[in-house]
Amino acid sequence: MLRVENIVKQYSGHTALDDISITTKRGEIFGLLGPNGAGKTSLIRIINQITGPDVGKIFIEGRELKRSDIEHIGYLPEERGLYKKMKVKDQVMYFARLKGLSKSEAKRKMNEWFEKFEITSWYDKKVEELSKGMAQKIQFIITVIHEPKILILDEPFSGFDPINTELIKQEILSLKKKGTSIMISTHNMNSVEEICDSIALINKAKLVLDGKLSDVKNKFRSNTYAIQFKGMMFAFANALFASFSLEHSEQIDEDRAIAHVKLLKGNTLNDLLKTVIPVVEIEAVHEIVPSMNDIFIEAVTGAKKSNEYLKNDETPEEGGNKAEEGGSDE
């Protein structure tokens, strides 16, 4: 659906995006992740044609992106804003028409959305008279009113109250079902795990990892299992030879503990169990799957593990990557 190829963007003084390539699919929610100042907003602005890349191309449905494609893109910026003194209906009509809808179409779609959200009484209100949550709904309607093929949401859940968050989440999922390709830029890793199908992680202008969420998570599986048992911790530890390494342990009560054990040298869980069953009484076993939060922190800080998951071997440089030019406020 959307293919970003080798995008490079430099501002005087620093590189905001360094050879970024990503692909999103139709009917898929794509998570664009990265810490503040990584270059997410720069990339989003390039896709929205607000700024242009120095190098690289963007393709939509297999052909190169052109100016008129902005009508196929819906954009919810991180910095939300509406014309404060303008009536809600005028405002929605204005943005809908800027996205290429005819007057009658815009009106029809506006009515549909307002009825759906049960907010038809707001038509003649000015935005400054609305509460923050109300304005957020209007903002969302403006983003999707022209039925974009591609929806780009920058931190869609920040600033929304829980009720609106749920509402927006449901709308996003229903748009996904209709075949919209959705890109979400966020730091909120819980929401990533909940709704994203694929992710790309950008750190310091570079693509650090990307792929299907399940693949990424698999890649981060470290063959580590949590074993809860009854028995002596030191007996358990002694039983593990060079084939296993005890990563972590904690005592639950006097004679029960949980141990995190990593399998080494092609050993299986069965091998591990065979080794420890003689010394302790096992109560529960499960694999430790990294959360997106862990993956994010690991990928960004490069801590704890070797950089096996890195596409390139370079360790990201320190500093010198503030988002000062281009006004990114990520």
């Binding site: 602005r45 929205n48 902005i70 910026p77 804003g81 404060k84 800027l98 996205k99 290429g100 006004g327």
Partner: protein, 466 residues
């Protein structure tokens, strides 16, 4: 078959883009015109101007009170005669004579109640060189000068004769000299040709009309270019700009805004003209129909030369003639619009830069200084060249694009400027605003998405080069 099809597609796209600027213009225009402040200002200003006008007329009419002057002349020096010109069909005072000597008790006498001013004339008037008088109501400067002028002439005639100078000789001496001063370039011109040329005074008066336009343009530039700045800043601080520029090119947004606000300015101006015309017509129908034409003429003189009233015969109704015949409105008014639009586009693009670079209203005050100081300077220059529309300051000012919208109209009004000079000045102005608009587009594109910090002029220049 494919070729024409492709053409249609590109054409549609172009129209699509055009209509986006159109949408921006429509939004910017309608939100401003629908504002209460626009409505109030549009209505209030003509009413205020009309009120000021009515007040001026009222006060002028008030001054036109007719005074009855009683001259107490026991020695019959004036022989109960004062020469009054036939041209003065509506003099501010009439003279009456009595040979009675009047004292403090007499002013309250029943038979003298109708007189407003009492003047005593005697031989001591000559020795003291003082004419003494008493008034019930202080006469206007105009009436006072009139009375003194007539009385002085009569007394001097008496004095001359008293000293053995024949009346005829005295009157010849008393006549003023004409100062027939000419430009060295005009030597050799015939009398008729000379009379067609404007004197400095005439030029200055005409230039004054141009100065009115200067002020109008100056005020409009400040108000509407300032609105562009605030509009840009408002979109930036409310963060709405990011959604807008995801649908419209930043340059289209900026141009849409500039054009719309310019149209608001023109709308307001035209509404003022229409409203003022209606109000003035109404005022004329209500009040002025009672007044005779001479009063109106005098009114014109009063407004033109408020300082030197009195000698009415001198200025005649030059103001009226100037206003209705000598000023080439057919040229001035179209030029006013052309220079207003040119100057507005120039300053609006610069103000848009300031709006895009600032992060809050307070930032603009600092950033605007380098723009405001030259503009203020231009304003001062435009005042200082009053009376010398040919000075080098005026000539330079009428070419420099930042001042030409304010200064050129004065020179045009004064009639000291050639056609090609106006064209050249306009071409420079157009070239400059095209350039500043292009540069503003560049700064605007970068500036509007820079949240949370104010850019310095140094940074703005950096963006220009990027």
């Amino acid at each position: 078959m494919t070729k024409p099809l492709k053409k249609v597609v590109t054409k549609q796209r172009k129209e699509g883009q055009m209509s986006k600027v159109g949408l921006v213009i429509a939004r910017e225009y309608s939100t401003r015109v629908k504002k209460r402040s626009f409505f109030v200002l549009t209505l209030l200003i003509p009413i205020l101007m009309a009120l000021v006008g009515i007040a001026a007329i009222w006060f002028t009419i008030e001054k036109e009170k007719h005074y009855k002057v009683l001259i107490s002349d026991p020695e019959n020096i004036t022989e109960s005669k004062i020469f009054v010109s036939h041209d003065d069909s509506d003099p501010p005072a009439t003279f009456y004579f009595t040979e009675q000597e009047l004292g403090p008790d007499d002013y309250s006498r029943e038979d003298l109640k109708d007189f407003d001013i009492f003047i005593g004339v005697g031989r001591n008037t000559f020795t003291n060189k003082t004419i003494k008088g008493i008034y019930r109501e202080e006469p206007s400067k105009y009436a006072r000068n009139y009375i003194l002028d007539k009385l002085e002439t009569r007394l001097e005639e008496y004095w001359a004769v008293d000293h053995g100078i024949p009346l005829q000789t005295y009157r010849e001496i008393d006549q003023n000299f004409k100062f027939d001063l000419h430009d060295v370039e005009d030597v050799g011109l015939s009398e008729g040709e000379l009379s067609k040329k404007d004197t400095r005074e005439e030029k200055t008066k005409k230039q004054g009309v141009g100065f009115g336009f200067s002020i109008l343009i100056f005020v409009f530039l400040m108000v509407y270019a300032g609105q562009v700045m605030r509009g840009v800043l408002e979109e930036k601080t409310s963060r709405v700009v990011e959604i807008v520029v995801s649908s419209v090119k930043p340059f289209e947004l900026m141009m849409g805004k500039i054009i719309a606000i310019g149209l608001v300015g023109l709308t307001q101006f035209l509404m003022w003209v229409v409203l003022l015309t209606i109000i003035m017509a109404g005022v004329q129908a209500l009040f002025i129909s009672d007044l005779d034409p001479e009063t109106l003429q005098a009114l014109g003189d009063m407004q033109m030369n408020p300082g030197e009233s009195g000698k009415i015969s001198e200025s005649e109704s030059t103001a009226a003639i100037l206003f209705f015949q000598e000023i080439k409105w057919g040229i001035l008014i179209p030029l006013f619009f052309v220079y207003f639009i040119g100057g507005y586009l120039l300053y609006a693009s610069i103000f848009a830069i300031v709006g895009a670079a600032a992060d809050s209203e307070t930032d603009t005050q600092q950033l605007i200084i380098p723009v405001m100081i030259p503009l203020m300077f231009v304003y001062i220059v435009s005042i200082s060249i009053l009376g010398s529309p040919d000075s080098s300051a005026a000539i330079i000012g009428s070419y420099v694009p930042f001042s030409s919208p304010i200064i050129m109209l004065q020179r045009v009004a004064a009639g000291t400027v050639a056609f090609w000079e106006v064209i050249l000045s306009l071409l420079i102005l157009i070239g400059t605003f095209v350039l500043t608009t292009y540069l503003a587009g560049k700064v605007y594109r970068t500036g509007i998405l820079m949240y949370g910090k104010k850019a310095s002029w140094k940074e703005i220049i950096k963006w220009l080069r990027h």
